[in-house]
């Protein structure tokens, strides 16, 4: 064993017992168990957090119901709707005469001068209606009106009329109009 071997001194020192603790072992165990059961978060954290969020809620609620909040104004825009409806419009109608107008200016004329005029007017009406073939032919040229008209009967017959050779010409007159009746 070397002369500076600390083992004997260490053994002698190890046999000395340190002064025991003066604190209560049970009290220390109770305090340790109490500390172990406590949460790691300090006790003031949750009340502080609750108060903070409550304050935030109150402030936000105040903003929500604040009277200074600009109100939303609703403006109604006129909406154009097209509706079909029938409107009765009274058009001033000239009073019709009690008796039909006599458009025949020569109906009541009985003088011989007017009979020629009436005939000419009749011819004019027929020409305007059926064409120039209705003009009367003069006797000096020879032939009657029937002979001259016979070859051209089919050409100038009004639409819808039959032209059968050998049959006497018969003009297919349309249904008499009230105007014609008035003229006659």
């Amino acid at each position: 064993m070397p002369p500076d071997d600390p083992t004997p001194m260490a053994d002698a020192l190890r046999r000395l017992a340190p002064q025991p603790a003066t604190f209560s072992r049970d009290a220390l165990l109770f305090a340790a168990g109490k500390a172990a059961a406590q949460p790691l978060v300090p006790a003031w954290v949750w009340p502080s957090a609750t108060g903070l969020f409550a304050s935030a809620t109150v402030i936000l609620g105040g903003f929500l119901f604040s009277p200074s909040r600009p109100e939303v104004q609703y403006v109604e825009i006129p909406k154009v709707v097209y509706v079909e409806r029938f409107v009765e419009v009274k058009v001033p109608v000239p009073e019709s005469p009690a008796t039909p107008v006599n458009i025949d200016p020569f109906q009541e004329e009985t003088s011989p001068d007017n009979s020629e005029a009436r005939r000419m007017w009749q011819v004019r009406k027929e020409v305007l209606r059926w064409g120039v073939e209705m003009l009367p032919r003069s006797n000096a040229a020879g032939g009657s009106d029937v002979t001259v008209k016979e070859p051209n009967r089919g050409m100038f017959s009004p639409p819808g009329s039959f032209a059968i050779p050998g049959l006497p010409f018969r003009k297919n007159k349309p249904a008499p109009s009230p105007l014609d009746e008035d003229l006659e």
Binding site: P3, L13, P20, A21
Partner: protein, 164 residues
């Protein structure tokens, strides 16, 4: 935390921890109690509970000593105050408790720390090196030098090898 383990640690290490914390502060018992309470609040038990306790006591004692010096402005009073560190042994052939306490108090702090942690705390030199921030060899050298100093201060005779 297992209460049985906590009770065992209190019974086994409380006195040694108080002895270990005494150089730094005047209220080592308060420091040790706080460390045990902090130990109970640990969600997972440390791998080496003794090493954890010594490290925590060391830090807490240093912090408490700074606070005490700041309050009382009496630097050096803590180290100079001589108290009886050991229980008087029943064995008359053993070391004198008072002489051992005085000699241990006079030791340099680094040597005293290593001796207390190794002899009464049961820490290895690797754990002491990790605790004090050095190497295991350094801790061993301090330990040896401290024991030699104690032996010289206490007047204990050196054992010489028997002559062949």
């Amino acid at each position: 935390m297992d209460p049985d383990l906590l009770g065992y640690l209190i019974d086994r290490y409380s006195a040694a921890l108080i002895l270990y914390a005494r150089p730094w502060c005047r209220c080592p018992e308060d420091v040790v109690q706080e460390v045990f309470i902090r130990f109970a609040r640990q969600r997972e038990t440390p791998v080496h509970p003794a090493a954890w306790l010594y490290r925590s006591v060391r830090n807490a004692a240093i912090s408490a000593g700074r606070s005490e010096r700041r309050r009382t402005n009496h630097e050096g009073n803590v180290a100079a105050k001589a108290v009886l560190l050991f229980v008087p042994p029943d064995d008359v052939a053993g070391l004198d408790a008072t002489a051992a306490s005085e000699a241990l108090t006079k030791l340099p702090l680094d040597q005293r720390e290593v001796i207390v942690a190794h002899l009464w705390g049961g820490l290895t030199f690797e754990q002491i090196a990790e605790l004090t921030g050095g190497s295991a060899a350094t801790a061993w050298r301090r330990y040896s030098a401290g024991l030699v100093s104690l032996r010289k201060m206490m007047g204990a005779p050196c054992k010489t090898p028997p002559e062949k």
